[in-house]
C-alpha cells in the first residue's frame, strides 16, 4: 500500500500519490501500467484527498510515497525545504522537455532554479465562458482586450442583461475565485516579470500594478448591476453554481464567467448543456490589456515530485514525463496535458481542444500565483481579504495592506 516507507530499494511497487479526480487517476494508471511493464517496474497510483496537507505530515513522520503529485508550487517548495524531494535535473531530460512542454511549464516546478516538480496535468484558468447560442444570437463577440471586455459588459447591461456570473463561496476555500482574477489581471497589467516578483513578494501587494489590477476587478465585481445577485451574492453563492444561470430558459441570467478549464465538467453545467458542450458553451481566452498584446496564460496543475531516489522511482518519474501518459485520461476527463506534442484529438470535445490550445498558444504559462505564495498568504490572507473586500467588510486598500502584512517575515 501507500504506507511503504521511502528509501526502500527493493523491487516493490513505486507508489504515486495524487489528488486528481478519480477518472484521471484511473486513466493515468492504465497508461502507466503499460509503460511500467515495459520498463520492468511496478507502479501503483493512489488517490488521496488533500495531499497538500497530508504530505507535510507524512514527511515529518518519514513516511512518504515515492512520487507525489502536488497541486501547488508552494507545497513543492515546502517539501524541498523539508529536504524530502530530489532534484529532477539529472533525472529527466530537461532540455527536450523544455521544448515540448507549454512555455514556462517547467519554471513552475523550480525551486531556487532547480527543477523539483514536473507538471503532469494542467488546467487553464485564463478563460471566459459564455452561453454560446444566446451570445451569438445577441450578436456579441468575444472581447480582444480588457477594455473591450468592459464595453461588452456595458453593452449587456444596456441590453437589459446582467453581464457577470461571479460566485465564489467555496466552504473552507472561499476566496480563491477572486485570487484567480487578481492573478490574471496582475500578469496582464504588470507583465510576466512583475507577476513573478509579485508571487515572490518582491513586488508588494500595495504596488500600483496590483492596485491597478484590483481597480479593474472592483469595477467588474462591485459596479451596480454587473454581477448577478449583486455584491452580496458574490461571496455567498457557491462557485459551483456560477455557470447555471447562463443557461436559463429564455434569457441568460448572466453572460460571462471567468473560470478554469475544469468548469467544463458535468458537475458545473446543466445536464443538457454538458451533453451538447460544443454547441452550448462558448469559451475564449481572458483578453490581454491591449488587443493582440502579450497574453500570458494563467493556470494550475499537478507537479510530480520525486521523494525517493531509487532507480525504480526515477524510472517512474520518466514515465510521468512522457506526453503519452495522458492518453487514457484525456478522453474521459477534463485532463489537459502540458505537453504541446500531446495528441489533441484525444480530448473529448472541441471545447477541451480549444482550451488546450489557449495554453499551447500562450506566450507564457504562469502558474496560479496564490498556489505559489506561502500558504499563509496564498491559501490564507489572500483568500480571506479578498472575501472581506468583496463582501463589503473592508475597502480594497485595507485588504491589500493586510495581505502584504501577513507575508511571513523570513
Amino acid at each position: 500500500g501507500g504506507d511503504d516507507s521511502s528509501g526502500s530499494d527493493d523491487g516493490g511497487a513505486v507508489t504515486i500519490w495524487m489528488s486528481l479526480d478519480a477518472t484521471v487517476v484511473e486513466g493515468l494508471q492504465k497508461q502507466i501500467d503499460i509503460a511500467a511493464k515495459e520498463a520492468g517496474i511496478e507502479v501503483k497510483i493512489e488517490r488521496v484527498d488533500g495531499i497538500d496537507k497530508l504530505i507535510k505530515t507524512k514527511i515529518q513522520a518519514g513516511d512518504t510515497p515515492d512520487i507525489a503529485l502536488l497541486p501547488q508550487p508552494g507545497v513543492v517548495a515546502s517539501v524541498v525545504e523539508l529536504g524530502a524531494a530530489f532534484p529532477l535535473d539529472d533525472v529527466l531530460d530537461t532540455a527536450s522537455l523544455e521544448e515540448t512542454m507549454v512555455a514556462g511549464a517547467l519554471d513552475a516546478g523550480k525551486v531556487d532554479d532547480e527543477l523539483y516538480g514536473l507538471l503532469v496535468s494542467m488546467n487553464v484558468k485564463s478563460l471566459i465562458f459564455y452561453p454560446k447560442k444566446a451570445f451569438e444570437e445577441a450578436g456579441y463577440a468575444p472581447p480582444e482586450s480588457l477594455d473591450e471586455l468592459t464595453e461588452l459588459a456595458d453593452q449587456i447591461k444596456s441590453d437589459g442583461g446582467t453581464p457577470w456570473c461571479l460566485t465564489m463561496e467555496s466552504g473552507d476555500a472561499t476566496g480563491w475565485v477572486a485570487t484567480d482574477w487578481m492573478e490574471d489581471l496582475v500578469m496582464r497589467y504588470g507583465g510576466v516579470d512583475a507577476y513573478n516578483d509579485w508571487v515572490t513578494h518582491d513586488l508588494p501587494f500595495t504596488d500600483p500594478v496590483v492596485k491597478e489590477a484590483a481597480a479593474y476587478f472592483e469595477d467588474v465585481a462591485l459596479t451596480e448591476g454587473n454581477v448577478l445577485g449583486g455584491q452580496r451574492s458574490i461571496t455567498a453563492t457557491p462557485f459551483t453554481e456560477a455557470a447555471k444561470p447562463m443557461f436559463d430558459e429564455g434569457k441568460p441570467g448572466c453572460w460571462l464567467l471567468k473560470q478554469g478549464s475544469f468548469f467544463t465538467g458535468p458537475d458545473f453545467l446543466p445536464e443538457d448543456v454538458y451533453a451538447n458542450l460544443d454547441d452550448e458553451l462558448g469559451v475564449t481566452a481572458f483578453p490581454p490589456v491591449e488587443a493582440g498584446g502579450e497574453n500570458p496564460v494563467m493556470g494550475g496543475g499537478d507537479l510530480a515530485v520525486l521523494m525517493n531516489d531509487s532507480e525504480d522511482a526515477k524510472t517512474a518519474m520518466n514515465l510521468l514525463a512522457t506526453a503519452d501518459i495522458g492518453n487514457d485520461a484525456a478522453p474521459v476527463s477534463s485532463f489537459l496535458s502540458p505537453h504541446t506534442d500531446f495528441d489533441t484529438s484525444l480530448y473529448p470535445n472541441e471545447t477541451s481542444k480549444s482550451i488546450a490550445q489557449v495554453a499551447y498558444d500562450s506566450t507564457a504559462f504562469l502558474f496560479d500565483g496564490s498556489d505559489s505564495m506561502p500558504a499563509e498568504v496564498g491559501a490564507g490572507s489572500f483568500w480571506k481579504e479578498m472575501t472581506a473586500w468583496l463582501n463589503g467588510d473592508e475597502d480594497i486598500d485595507t485588504a491589500l495592506q493586510n495581505i502584504d502584512d501577513s507575508w511571513p517575515s523570513s
Binding site: G83, G171, R232, S233, P245, G380
Partner: protein
C-alpha cells in the same frame, strides 16, 4: 472479501482478548506480590495501560507542543528558538483578538445551551412510553451519526444562498422567499455575530444528542424512591425536576458541561467547512488548524494550543474541588 471480514473479526477478538489478558496478567502479578505491596501496587496496575496510552498519545505530544510554542519553523531544518514571539505575534494581531472574542462567545453560548437542551429532551422523553422515548431520542441523536462532511452538506442546504430571483435551495431562504423577502446571505451576516451563532446552531445540533444520551442515563439512575417521596411531599412535576432530579444528577451535568466546553474550545471543523473563519466567524480551534496544517506554522499553532491548555486550568481546579468534596461524602 469473506476472508478479509474473517481476519478483521479475528483481529478484533484478538485485540480485545489481548487487552483482557494484559489486565489478567497484571492482576496476577500483583496478587503474587506480598500482601503489603499488592494493595499498594494494584491501583497502579489498573491505571497503567490507560495512563501509558495517554502519556504516549497525548501528554508527550502536549509537552512537545509546549516546547514548539517557543520555536519557529518547527519541523523544518531551519527550526529555531524564538522565545515568546509566537505568543506576542498572535496576541498583538487584531484578527486573533477577534478570534478569541468569537471563541468566548462560543464558550458562553454552546455548552450551556447544549446541556439545557439535552436535559430537556432527556427529561421530557423520559415521560413518554418506551417506544416514543426511543424514537425521540434516536431522532435527536441522529445528527451525531452524520460525518462532518455530511453535516456541512446538511447545513449547506439550510443556510444556502442563491442570488435573488433564482430558485432558492436552502430552507431558510426558501421560507424568506415564500414570505416575499429578499434572500439573506446567512453566513455573511455578521452584525452582532449573527453568523457565528448560526454556526453554533450546527454544533448544538450535533452535540445535543451527546448530552442527551449521558443525561438520560443519569436521569434514569435517580432513585425512584426520592421522586416518590417528593411527590408525597407535595412537589409538582416541575419541582420534582428542579429540586430532586437535577441536584442528584448534578455530577453528570457537570461532566457533560465540561466535556462540551472543552470540545467547544477546540472545535474547528464546523467553522472550517462552513466559512473557514471568513466573515468574522473565526474561532481559536480553526485558527489552530489553519496554522498547523495550512500555514505550516507549528510554532504559532503550538502557542495557541498552550493558551488552550492554560484556559482549562480553572476547570481542572474545579474538578479537584469536587473531587475532594465527593471523597469526603462517600
Amino acid at each position: 472479501m469473506l476472508e478479509k471480514t474473517l481476519t478483521a473479526l479475528i483481529t478484533v477478538l484478538a485485540g480485545i482478548g489481548a487487552a483482557l489478558l494484559l489486565y489478567w496478567v497484571l492482576n496476577k502479578i500483583s496478587e503474587l506480590l506480598p500482601e503489603k505491596y499488592e494493595e499498594r501496587l494494584k491501583p497502579w496496575f489498573y491505571i497503567l495501560p490507560a495512563y501509558l496510552a495517554i502519556a504516549i498519545f497525548v501528554i508527550y505530544p502536549a509537552v512537545q507542543t509546549f516546547i514548539y510554542s517557543f520555536k519557529t519553523k518547527v519541523g523544518f531544518p531551519a527550526e529555531t528558538w524564538t522565545g515568546l514571539d509566537n505568543y506576542s505575534n498572535l496576541l498583538s494581531s487584531d484578527a486573533f483578538r477577534q478570534t478569541l472574542l468569537n471563541t468566548l462567545l462560543w464558550i458562553l453560548f454552546v455548552p450551556v445551551t447544549v446541556v439545557i437542551l439535552g436535559l430537556l429532551v432527556a427529561l421530557l422523553a423520559d415521560r413518554l412510553a418506551t417506544r416514543g422515548e426511543n424514537a425521540v431520542k434516536t431522532l435527536i441523536f441522529m445528527p451525531m451519526a452524520i460525518s462532518m462532511v455530511g453535516a456541512a452538506t446538511v447545513w449547506g442546504l439550510v443556510y444556502d444562498y442563491r442570488p435573488p430571483g433564482r430558485p432558492q435551495v436552502g430552507i431558510l431562504n426558501g421560507i424568506v422567499d415564500a414570505l416575499g423577502g429578499d434572500p439573506i446571505a446567512w453566513l455573511q451576516e455578521n452584525t452582532l455575530h449573527f453568523n457565528s451563532f448560526l454556526l453554533m446552531v450546527m454544533l448544538l445540533w450535533m452535540n445535543v444528542g451527546f448530552a442527551m444520551v449521558l443525561l438520560s442515563a443519569a436521569v434514569k439512575g435517580v432513585p425512584t424512591e426520592t421522586l416518590e417521596a417528593a411527590r408525597i411531599d407535595g412537589a409538582g412535576e416541575r419541582q420534582v425536576y428542579f429540586r430532586v432530579v437535577l441536584p442528584q444528577i448534578k455530577g453528570t451535568i457537570v461532566t457533560v458541561f465540561i466535556t462540551v466546553l472543552i470540545g467547544v474550545m477546540k472545535v474547528f471543523d464546523i467553522v472550517f467547512v462552513m466559512t473557514n473563519g471568513n466573515f468574522n466567524t473565526n474561532i481559536i480551534g480553526n485558527e489552530f488548524y489553519l496554522q498547523f496544517f495550512n500555514n505550516n506554522n507549528q510554532g504559532a499553532a503550538a502557542a495557541i494550543a498552550v493558551m488552550l491548555m492554560l484556559a482549562v486550568i480553572p476547570i481542572m481546579i474545579y474538578q479537584v474541588r469536587t473531587f475532594r468534596a465527593e471523597e469526603a461524602g462517600r
